[in-house]
Amino acid sequence: MTTRPLAQEAVASRRRWRISLSERHLPFILLLPSVIIMLLVIGFPMLYSLYLSLTSYTLTTAQNYDFIGLKNYATLLFDDPLFWASFGRTVLFITLAVNIEFLLGLGIAHLIARAIRGQSVARTLIMMPMMFAPILVGFQFKWFFNAQVGLVNNILYAITGEPHFIPWLIDKPLGFISILIAEIWMSTPFMVVILEAGILSLPQEPFEAAEVDGASGWQKFRHLTLPMLLPFIYTAMAIRSLDIARAYDVVQIMTGGGPANRTELIWTYVNRLAFTGQQFAVGAAMSYITVIFSWIFTWWFFYNVIKSRWAGGQS
């Protein structure tokens, strides 16, 4: 009498358990291969390079994995002025590039958004620099700024009638300015795309009301466009900041960080130290220091974004 209901209950229980297992765990099981692959592909190299950064490993003493603790970090932080010079130059590079790209991007985005005809053509043209591989941009600007046969000096010759051999890539401020121009040329379209999308998505009612109230163009921009565009601006600037913090290929092709370390950014220095100089462990330590600074910067940046938006909401 009682066996059948019990058996049915057991079967039902097992079925529930199976359903429960599949419903609750299936997503995790499906994700598991990706998690394992991510751990192996990203986690393992990171752990391994962290381990390397704590050793005296170099490519010329490949069997020497002596654990030396934080010595490489201490050397870089307290005994390597070149590291700090490269770091400072990278921060300056990011600051200038992001802000100039933002100003140019905002201006161009406005022009395109206000254009009555030819918007799509303008948008396509403006995006062209994004279609080039950074390495090609590097070669292109290396030729532009060549002292003997470069486009820039030839234009100056055509204008002035006098030969100019300005060493754009060698001179102290000009070398830095040259790589900055290449970076800005390559990446301003990204700002344009994001900011134009923001401008086109703004509601029209506040602008119409401001128009009725007799607000000037600048007032509308200052008090309506800019505040409403802030989320787009912050997002674009955050992405670009992190992107430029990784700047390597354009600079490596144009100047290699030289001459005399005049255009050395943090990643060209890592490359020179770790690969050319074969100081793998020191290079790994430098990479970790840079990544940690990037994390701090990202946190600080988003903290300020949220703070300013909150403050903007309160006002």
């Binding site: 751990l39 003493t61 001459p259 005399a260 005049r262």
Partner: protein
């Protein structure tokens, strides 16, 4: 077991995944830790993995030889001799890698460091082999090549790759720096000393608008090497017998000062510090350089009127001397080595003998390479007598003289490139006026001392 216990929360799942991943990563780390597997197979008795019944007269029948080789330009032409060797020996050659010199070096360094060598013969270079020796990657060649077999090779080439009492590389061809000067702008006699060179470069610039007196490749090992050969001619040494860097003495300072003075006088192109080998060669064929030191290997390019504005308008000379009465002569040679991990070392040696044979040398000489055997030099110099090229015979005789008397490699240490990585930015700073020569070289010496100390040279 309650329902609650069966559930796995996301947090637990991530924790478990993290532990599993961490364990996997640690497990993966374990074999990558201190290791020298590259050396292990060599210690074992030869396993003859490709063993097959030997055919009479074909000593390596059925076996496969794996090769890690340089490629590009004319380097591959020599490999056309391989089918004949395969026919003679019954073996097969399999290329596991082909790339340019720097790619090949990078791969070799990494393979030797990681212990992943699975080839028998590798390309080698007199500037790079010390790193491979230090990593324990190469087999000494003394037992595979008799004195008689080595007798025909130019002795300085063999000496350039003797280290720790062993021979490590069999030379295939070499190159050495040589003074190239324009005959169409009134240079009647090449400079004999570096002092004369400096003054002539300044005068050429002054008297020939649009032409720079001279140039050097201005970065990386190219710049360090040029400065090294000048300071050697001035009587300087890079290291003392204890491998302590001493290149901040008067000779080294004089060499660095000369580079700075030439640059600051405008006798060299303003963006020279951004030039490498191809760039200086391009400047030369564009006809805007009066004289400079260059490798012989570019000769056919320079004499081709389709690519060069200076074809037929230049001459060659021995490198200038310094105060020590020594001619400069930065040199290097390409060759072949046997890996320590090879299980077929006899077969590897046999292939190297074949590729560096007089036939191999003759084939490469026709391509314009400066080859490694004296007997072949005698042949090609005799043949050059009847050449239409007025420089053909002079070029060969000069190169042979330089190979015999001026052949100087960088120091045979694995730290040469890392050291160069310290020195060249400082040389650039000196040239651009950012640092005084003495202060700059003092700093370079200090940093190099630290490098050598870290590498274990001082106990």
């Amino acid at each position: 077991m309650s329902e609650k216990k069966k559930k796995v929360s996301r947090r637990e799942f991530l924790k478990l995944s993290g532990i599993a991943g961490g364990a996997a990563a640690l497990a993966a780390c374990a074999p990558a830790a201190p290791q020298a597997p590259a050396e292990q197979p060599a210690e074992q008795p030869a396993e003859q993995p490709t063993q097959a019944p030997a055919v009479v007269g074909k000593p390596f029948a059925g076996k496969t030889l794996r090769m890690h080789a340089i490629s590009g330009a004319n380097y591959d032409e020599l490999y056309k001799l391989i089918p004949a060797w395969e026919e003679k020996t019954g073996a097969k050659v399999e290329f596991v890698f082909k790339g340019n010199g720097f790619e090949t070096d990078k791969r070799l360094v990494q393979d030797f460091a990681a212990g992943t060598v699975d080839y028998d013969v590798c390309w080698d270079h007199s500037s790079f082999f010390s790193q491979y020796v230090k990593a324990g990657g190469l087999e000494p060649l003394d037992n595979y090549f008799s004195e008689e077999e080595l007798a025909d090779f130019i002795p300085s080439l063999l000496d350039a790759t003797r280290k720790d009492g062993h021979l490590w590389v069999i030379p295939r061809h070499f190159d050495i720096s040589c003074l190239h000067y324009r005959t169409d702008i009134g240079i009647e006699k090449p400079p004999e000393t570096w002092d004369e060179f400096k003054q002539m470069a300044i005068d050429i610039t002054k008297n020939n608008p649009g032409i720079f007196g001279t140039q050097f490749a201005g970065k990386e090992e190219a710049l360090t090497g040029r400065w090294y050969e000048i300071q050697t001619a001035e009587g300087g040494e890079l290291f003392n017998e204890k491998w302590e860097p001493i290149f901040n003495g008067p000779a080294a300072v004089k060499a660095a000062t000369m580079l700075a003075e030439l640059y600051q006088a405008g006798a060299m192109p303003p963006d020279m510090t951004n030039y490498l080998w191809e760039d200086v060669a391009t400047q030369w064929v564009n006809g805007i350089i009066g004289m400079y030191t260059e490798w012989y290997g570019w000769y056919s390019f320079f004499q081709d009127p389709n690519s060069s504005k200076v074809a037929g308008k230049f001459d060659l000379a021995r490198q200038p001397k310094g105060d020590a009465g020594i001619h400069s002569g930065w040199a290097g040679h390409h060759g072949f080595s046997i890996t320590k991990a090879s299980k077929e070392k006899e077969m590897a040696a046999d292939l190297i003998k074949w590729l560096t044979s007089p036939d191999g040398n003759r084939l490469e000489a026709k391509l314009g390479f400066l080859v490694s055997r004296q007997s072949v030099w005698d042949e090609i110099i005799a043949e050059a007598e009847g050449s239409d090229d007025p420089l053909a015979k002079k070029r060969l005789e000069l190169a042979l003289l330089q190979a015999r008397e001026d052949f100087k490699t960088p120091p045979l240490i694995a730290e040469w490139i890392p050291m160069s990585n310290i020195v060249y930015p400082i040389l650039q700073q000196i040239m651009l006026g950012d640092k005084e020569p003495q202060a700059g070289l003092d700093e370079a010496v200090e940093k190099t001392y630290e490098l050598m100390k870290e590498a274990g040279y001082y106990g």
